[in-house]
Every structure is written in C-alpha cells, then in structure tokens.
C-alpha cells in the first residue's frame, strides 16, 4: 500500500472509531465521498472530534481557521491536508 493509501485508510478508520459510527466499515467510505451534509452526514462537532483524533494520530497541530469545509470535504482532501502538515517543519510546540 502506498503512503497515500495508508493515510487514507487511517483516516477512514479514525472517522469510524472516533465518531462512533458503529456498524460502518472504514473501507465503505469512498475517497471522494462528501463527509458533511448530504454525504456521510457529519456536522461541526464531528469535525472537531475528528481534529482531535487526527492531531493525536499524525502528531500534527491543526489551527482553528484550517477547520473548514474544503479541507474536510472528503477523505482525499483530508489526506492531502494531513500530508501537507506532516511535510512542513514544526514551528514550535503546538499549544503552549
């Protein structure tokens, strides 16, 4: 599995686990499936819960103004965002 694929698979797993989507298999979430509104039906609190899970899993820090509909539109968009953050040099401790 390529690293891209691994990132996407991890994100799908985090979505199911952290958002209590019982009975849903991570693989059933499409890479480009809309996550909010009509798609998977997630809302703003789901997005924030997912942020906590992503930060912990990938050891990244997500700023409040980065939590928007474009970044969180789909798993593919999220994966691209996560990979971009991981590639950046760390700019200091996340929250101090």
């Amino acid at each position: 599995m390529s690293e891209h694929d691994a990132t996407r698979a991890t994100i799908k797993r985090l979505i199911v686990e952290s958002l209590n989507l019982e009975g849903m298999s991570p693989e059933s979430i499409g890479d480009d499936q809309r996550l909010f509104g009509q798609g998977l039906g997630l809302d703003s609190v789901d997005a924030l819960e997912l942020v906590v899970a992503l930060e912990k899993e990938f050891q990244i820090s997500i700023q409040s103004d980065e939590i928007d509909r474009q970044v969180f539109a789909s798993v593919a968009d999220l994966a691209a965002f996560v990979e971009r953050l991981r590639a950046e040099p760390p700019s200091g401790p996340p929250h101090a």
Binding site: D43, S44, V45, L48, S64, I67, H95
Partner: protein
C-alpha cells in the same frame, strides 16, 4: 396585551444587587468597569493552563482584605460558594433586609454550571495521581450543583422554596424567571435570585476543544471576533413583590416586568442560524411583561463573541424588532467580565439594572469595527444615554439550545 403580572396583580421589584467578577468584589467596581468599558479579562491563575490553546479568562481577584473575617469562615467552602455568599450578602444588605430571613416568606432561585467543579478536579487529580493516601472528602462536598444556592439559603436562613437550575448559559436567567413566577403566585414575598460559577479546567478545555475560545479578550459583535472568554463570579438580585417592597419603604431599583424562555431544539452546540428560538424567547418575554417590542429601548445581549452566536442573536433581534433592531443600543457585558456560564444571566441582569438606574447603556471593552454583516448598535467608548421610560431586555442563549430572556424597566413610581 395584558401581562401575566397584570393578571395576577403582583408586580416584581428589584430592591438589591450583589456581584463578584473579574473586575472586583461588589457592584461598585462592576459599575465602574462597565461605565469605563474596561475589561477584567486577561491572564489568570485559577488552574495551570500551560498546555491550553488559550490563556485568557476573567478570574475574580483575591478577596478584599477587609473581607478577611468572612473569608476565613468560608475558607472551607468552594470558590463558587464564596462568590455566591458575598453577592447575596451585598444584595440583601442593599435591600435593607437582614438575615435571618425566616420571618419573611423568602425563596432562593439559583443557577450554576460548575458549582464546586474546580474543587472536584483537585479531588480527582489527587485520587488518580496521588501517591498513597486519599484526597479529603471535603473537596467533593460542593460538587453537587445545588450547593451554591443552598449555601445562600442556609446562610440567610431562608425557609421558603429553594430551587437550582443548571441549563448551561441560560441557568441564572431561568432561575430569575422562576423567582418571578413564585412571586407572582404569592408563594414568596422575597426571592433571592442569581447565579455563581467558577473557572475550572474541564470547562476551559471543553470550550477550547470546540474551538470556541478567543485567544484575546472576547470581542462581541466585532469583525473578526474569534470566540468567547470564560469568566467566573456571581450575580444576585433581591426580587420582591412590589407592594411588599413599597410597604416596607424599600428603594425600588428597577422593575422586573417579565421573563420568557424557549429551546432551539436544533443542535447541541450551535445556535439556530436564523435565531428562531431566541426570537421566540424574546417574544414570550415581551408578552409576559405586557411590553410591545416598540417599547424596548436597550438590549443587554448574550453577545459571547463567537462568530455563530452573535450572528444568530442579531437574526433574533431583527425578527423581534424589525428595522428598529439596528437602532437599539446594545451592551455587551461579556466583553467586560467574560462568560460566567450558568451565572451569566444573573450578572448581566445586575448590569442591566445598573444601566437602567443610571439611564446609561455601558460601552463594550476593546477596539475594532463592528461586523458589517451584523449591524447592531453596539455601545462603544462612552456610556450612551437611555430614554428613561423605555424597557430593557437581557438575553441568555444557552449551550444545548435553552434560551431565556428577561424584561426590565425603571420603576415608574406609580402606586401599586
């Protein structure tokens, strides 16, 4: 339309005020800060916030030296109770009443979100991290949410009904509404109504997890506002059947004309974007008070400073007041003392009475243009003169969708 007060014949007077907040212990320092538009929000030390996302809050300063006697006696009480007791004492004294209140038919109606949660945090931390030994059970004695209201009733030796409400940001306003109901029904002649809350890590972390907290002192209704600022303290009002107050020669500071509430029933954290629930609460409060919307001349807004709340609240103003909405002076008390959560409705009711008494809407703290998308007439820089015969509304729009609104006015002095 006839108000419920008119129907029951019992009007409600405000005869005493008490307050504790980040700008000081007492109503005097509160009014000074409100008038000056000077914020009490800033660095704080109530708990270790090194790893928090933000570092601003409205912490109550250490108790004044001359209050040392009270403080020593109250040292084993939670911070929240200490705030509540100080504010209750101040309000009762101002009302010219004296504990014990056993001989007066008195009730206590309180709101809180935290009670002794800070002290419970200490207990849990010692329980989970302590090396042997057990944390003192005394730390958990104030855990229950009824503790601050009970403490006030116990201290004043009040023997009538006691009721505590915990409905997030609407708690104290709902409690005040409950007090109005009890007074009108003749269950009590005097009601001690208010709220108290204390800063603690759970609420601070929680609001930060929702990315609702601003990194700088909150900027309600301003362009680029970034969220709320948490505060702590207490607000207490002595409410009284008007004929009872007048009968004993009490000074009536304002009249509490009515209360209304509703629920968004929409989302657990986000307010309804069109402000429908808040507008319903406003309308119900005005109906209850027998005050038409045109008679409102001042709004003490909920105004937390979150992008969503302020926009939703503006929408509610427009629904209720139509095109007048943009011309109604608005005071944003949270810019001065922060968001006192369960107690916010109480301290903001106190602020509203102070504004009515002085005929001045207090300015908000901080700089920056008002958000052009929500053109409230936010009072800035200087207090704004208010017309004396108009009514005021104070809005409390809570987490979980509970909305509560109070309607107040200067006492007209007319015979009961």
């Amino acid at each position: 339309m006839p108000s419920r007060a008119a129907a029951s014949g019992r009007r409600v007077a405000v005869t005493g005020l008490g307050a504790v907040s980040s700008v000081g212990w007492g109503v005097r320092p509160l009014w000074q800060a409100l008038r000056a538009g000077r914020t009490g929000l800033g660095p704080f030390s109530r708990f270790d916030h090194t790893r928090q996302r933000t570092h601003v809050a409205g912490q109550v300063p250490d108790a004044p030296a001359d209050g040392a006697r009270h403080q020593r006696r109250r040292a084993r009480l939670s911070y929240c109770e200490r705030f509540a007791l100080f504010a209750a004492d101040e309000a009762v004294e101002q009302a010219g009443l004296e504990a014990p209140l056993e001989t007066v038919r008195t009730g206590v109606f309180f709101g809180t979100s935290t009670a002794g949660l800070l002290e419970s945090e200490w207990f849990l931390e010692r329980l989970w991290r302590g090396a042997g030994g057990r944390p003192g059970l005394g730390l958990m004695a104030s855990h229950q949410l009824n503790t601050p209201g009970d403490s006030v009733a116990r201290h004043l030796r009040s023997t009538g009904p006691v009721e505590t409400i915990s409905s997030a940001c609407a708690s104290a306003a709902l409690a005040i509404g409950s007090a109005v109901g009890a007074l009108r029904a003749g269950e009590v002649d005097v009601a001690i109504a208010g709220g108290a809350d204390c800063l603690c890590a759970i609420t601070y972390s929680g609001f930060n997890s929702l990315r609702s907290v601003d990194e700088v002192p909150c900027r309600p209704f301003r362009q680029g506002r970034g969220g709320l600022s948490l505060g702590e303290g207490a607000g207490v009002l002595v409410l009284e059947a008007l004929e009872h107050a007048v009968g004993r020669g009490a000074r009536v500071q304002a009249e509490l004309l009515g209360a209304g509430s509703s629920c968004d029933a929409n989302h657990m954290t986000a307010p309804h974007p069109q402000g429908i629930g808040a507008a319903q609460a406003l309308q119900h409060a005005l109906d209850d008070a027998g005050v038409p919307a045109e008679r409102v001349g001042f709004i003490n807004a909920h105004g937390t400073g979150t992008p969503l709340n302020d926009a939703s609240e503006w929408a509610a103003f427009v629904r209720t007041f139509g095109e007048r909405a943009a011309r109604l002076p608005v005071s944003a008390t949270k810019s001065i003392v922060g968001h006192l959560l369960g107690a916010s409705g109480a301290i903001e009711a106190v602020a509203t009475v102070l504004c009515l008494e002085a005929c001045e809407a207090h300015p908000a703290a901080g700089a920056g243009p008002i958000d052009p998308a929500i053109p409230v007439d936010l009072v800035l820089d200087e207090p704004r003169r208010l017309l004396p015969d108009l009514a005021a509304v104070s809005t409390s729009l809570g987490f979980g969708g509970a909305n509560a609104v109070l309607v107040l006015a200067r006492y007209s002095g007319e015979a009961v």
